[in-house]
């Protein structure tokens, strides 16, 4: 690491004492680089065994890496905490301007401890953290408004990230998210609820410092190579044109697009919510994360008339992506695009994870149809596939929590099914609701074994889709090996905080060259060691907190609905999980 690089500065904020200080921690960054590698070590230091995720002792760690502010697509912030949703390791990544802002403010990581007695937000810059009252913001109906107010009250336009929670986070919905730059999220696993438990409404982080490089000429040369690779690659072009929704049609075609709570894996209305149709009829703007030329963020422009007053219209810009379209579209049997966008908007207003919300609504709909719940529980709402006005009302009630049923829905589908039944079709893995890939065994193995139970951990859905060369002939051991190799490498990328979409650009050679510019002289085996160690540390944390691979619940539904790889076999999945754990 270069001597005057501020990466090793860690800002420790204590919400209980309303104080902050900076500690220089080269020990964390020299070997682990930053991001996931540094964050898991900070979590080990800060999070005592058995910590209640909603207690002041649960730390929030936000970490970035050495390439941020130097190279394109190093644009993610890794958040680590103990998850109130799973009761175990919480790790969530977000882009927007968060990573660049933290780095430009002169920090490699921000650690938040304790809890405030009254609502606060933090204003962080090079001089540290300032505490601002958020009493007036607490309980605001919309997360958008909270963001608007922070934007107007704080300085640093163009050089800042504005993170905030909605009411879901304030009320402790265990899958509440933290929203940054309006359209990006620390989703999954409930960081928003942890913010809420600390009475932390938001954070504005700003800075615009310069960063040293080891060699100016090679900096420009390697930069140009990375930039060219990123802007020339066909995959990046697709992410720019249609965004992640480019996957709707192909996944539906092969029968991997979960619909109606995975009663089917092909959605007959998929075309109506495909990336192509969304772009033709609704695309209103595209956005990029800071220092990413790709601009995969897609906003729909939705013009809707006022319900009672003629000639009044509201035009909203609403973010959409593959996963929300799966979860709040096909998974709940919806193809009315304005209705779907309004539901996505309500989920955003309340500040909850879109995937978890959709899977929970899907379970509730099926449970209602089967008579496990009735209008007594729903408070008079009759649930039916694709009925958006009812779903929008349900999302509000999950946050308002008028009765025990909605309080249960606010704790996730595993919990709700444990109370009301319907475990066989409660689609969560390791406590986390499933993403939109019914591709085959490898996809589900990723949900089961990935350290975050996220499809991005080891991307098994890609292994499933590799066609004949894929896992047709792969036994459980070979699949486990492939996933483990991928997940280890992804620890390196998430320590560098390189966006996974750029994994084809950041090959090991390119990573080493870029690191050399940043003053890190490393070899390929150092990266491999970092990947292996980081994953081991995560698993050590998970095991300490009670994770047991042998007790993972596999909902029967995934075995009943055929995948593109045929009917899944539970014994195969169990064997592969066991292999994964052995090899770990």
């Amino acid at each position: 690491m270069l001597r005057d690089d501020p990466l090793s500065r860690v800002l420790y904020v204590d919400l209980s004492r309303r104080s902050s200080r900076v500690e220089n921690r080269p020990d964390l960054f020299e070997k682990a680089l930053g991001g996931a590698g540094a964050a898991i070590q900070i979590l080990e230091e800060e999070c005592p065994e058995g910590t209640d995720p909603m207690a002041p002792e649960n730390p929030i760690v936000l970490a970035v890496g050495p390439l941020v502010g130097l190279f394109p697509l190093a644009s993610k912030t890794v958040a680590m905490f103990k998850s109130p949703h799973t009761g175990n390791l919480g790790e969530s990544h977000a882009g927007g301007r968060s990573a660049v802002a933290i780095r430009m403010a002169g920090y490699g990581a921000v650690v938040i401890r304790g809890a405030s007695a009254s609502p606060v937000y933090l204003s962080i810059d090079e001089s540290g953290a300032s505490f601002r009252s958020a009493s007036a913001l607490w309980g605001l109906r919309s997360s958008y408004t909270a963001g608007d107010i922070l934007r107007e009250r704080e300085s640093g336009a163009g050089h800042r990230a504005i993170m905030r929670i909605g009411r879901a986070g304030e009320k402790g919905v265990t899958y509440a998210c933290v929203i940054t730059e309006t359209f990006r999220h620390f989703g999954r696993l409930g960081l928003g609820a942890v913010f809420g438990s600390k009475k932390l409404k938001g954070m504005v982080i700003s800075g615009r410092r310069s960063l040293p490089v080891a060699n100016r000429r090679s900096y420009r040369e390697i930069y140009d190579a990375v930039f060219k690779a990123a802007t020339d690659s066909p995959l990046m072009k697709k992410y720019h044109e249609l965004g992640t929704t480019m996957n709707v049609r192909p996944l539906n075609r092969i029968g991997a697009f979960p619909s109606r709570n995975l009663l089917q894996a092909k959605f007959e209305q998929a075309d109506a919510i495909s990336g192509e149709r969304m772009a033709e009829e609704y695309l209103g703007r595209r956005l990029a994360c800071a220092h990413c030329p790709v601009a995969c963020i897609h906003l729909a422009a939705l013009r809707i008339p006022h319900p009672s007053e003629p000639y009044f219209y509201k035009t909203s810009m609403l973010g959409y992506d593959y996963e929300p379209i799966y979860a709040l579209g096909s998974m709940i049997g919806g193809s009315d695009v304005p209705g779907m966008l309004l539901l996505m908007d309500e989920v955003e207003v309340q500040g909850m994870d879109a995937m978890s919300a959709g899977v929970i609504l899907a379970w509730a709909t099926e449970a209602f149809k089967q008579g496990l719940i009735s209008t007594d529980e729903t408070g008079g709402l009759a649930l039916a596939w694709g009925d958006y006005p009812v779903y929008i009302e349900m999302v509000r009630r999950i946050v308002d929590q008028p009765n025990a049923f909605y309080r249960a829905l606010g704790k996730g589908v595993d919990y709700a099914a444990s109370v009301y039944g319907g475990e066989d079709f409660a689609l969560a893995f390791g406590g986390n609701e499933m993403p939109g890939y019914h591709t085959g065994p490898a996809g589900y193995l990723t949900f089961l074994t990935g350290a975050r139970h996220s499809h991005l951990d080891s991307a098994g859905y890609r292994v499933d889709q590799k066609g004949d060369a894929g896992n047709e002939s792969m036994g459980p051991e070979a699949v486990a090996e492939a996933l483990l190799t991928e997940e280890r490498w992804r620890q390196v990328l998430s320590s560098l905080v390189v966006c996974f979409f750029a994994r084809g650009v950041y090959t090991p050679d390119t990573v080493l060259q870029a690191l050399r510019v940043a003053g890190f002289d490393m070899a390929g085996e150092d990266l491999n060691r970092l990947g292996t160690e980081t994953l081991s540390r995560k698993y050590a944390f998970k095991t300490r907190e009670g994770f047991d691979a042998a007790n993972l619940r596999i909902p029967r539904r995934i075995l009943e609905t055929a995948s593109p790889r045929g009917r899944l076999d539970e014994a195969f999945l169990r064997r592969a999980v066991a292999c994964f754990m052995e090899k770990l």
Partner: protein, 140 residues
């Protein structure tokens, strides 16, 4: 002929800030402190973006308020900074109605576009371009 950087199609700006990083990299540095171009949202990401850069005014107000004549008007518009003469008073920053004069806090000097065009090729969507214009028609 004089060159200036122009914002030719702001509607295509995605806010990636590649231009800002390029401007700093022109000097071989990482980060943003030395960037003479700025991209910010137009009141939130929903509304799109504003690119702020010196437009090379024919009669630059920044030069008029400099007490040390450190900003020399350039043929064809805009200014050239004589850093040795600059006392870091910041009058120029306040005089520019576009906010296109940035500030290097380490050196306490203004940062003004030098019309080199290094940033433009890094704009993936052709929002900005280096333009030539006739010195005698430098009113635009």
């Amino acid at each position: 002929m004089a060159k200036r950087l122009s914002v030719i199609d702001i509607d295509r700006c995605v806010g990636c800030q590649s231009c800002m990083f390029a401007c700093a990299r022109r000097l071989g540095k990482g980060g943003l402190e030395d960037a003479c171009i700025g991209v910010r949202s137009e009141g939130g990401m929903r509304r799109g973006f504003v690119v702020i850069v010196c437009r090379a005014c024919p009669d630059p107000p920044c030069a008029r308020v400099c007490p040390e004549d450190a900003l020399i008007p350039r043929d064809g518009g805009g200014v050239k900074l004589k850093p040795d003469l600059c006392i870091g008073c910041g009058n120029c920053v306040r005089a520019c109605p576009f906010g296109a004069i940035f500030w290097n806090r380490t050196e306490e000097k203004p940062l003004i576009c030098v019309y080199c065009g290094y940033c433009a090729p890094y704009c993936p969507y052709d929002v900005i371009a280096l333009e030539e214009r006739e010195v005698s028609h430098a009113q635009g």
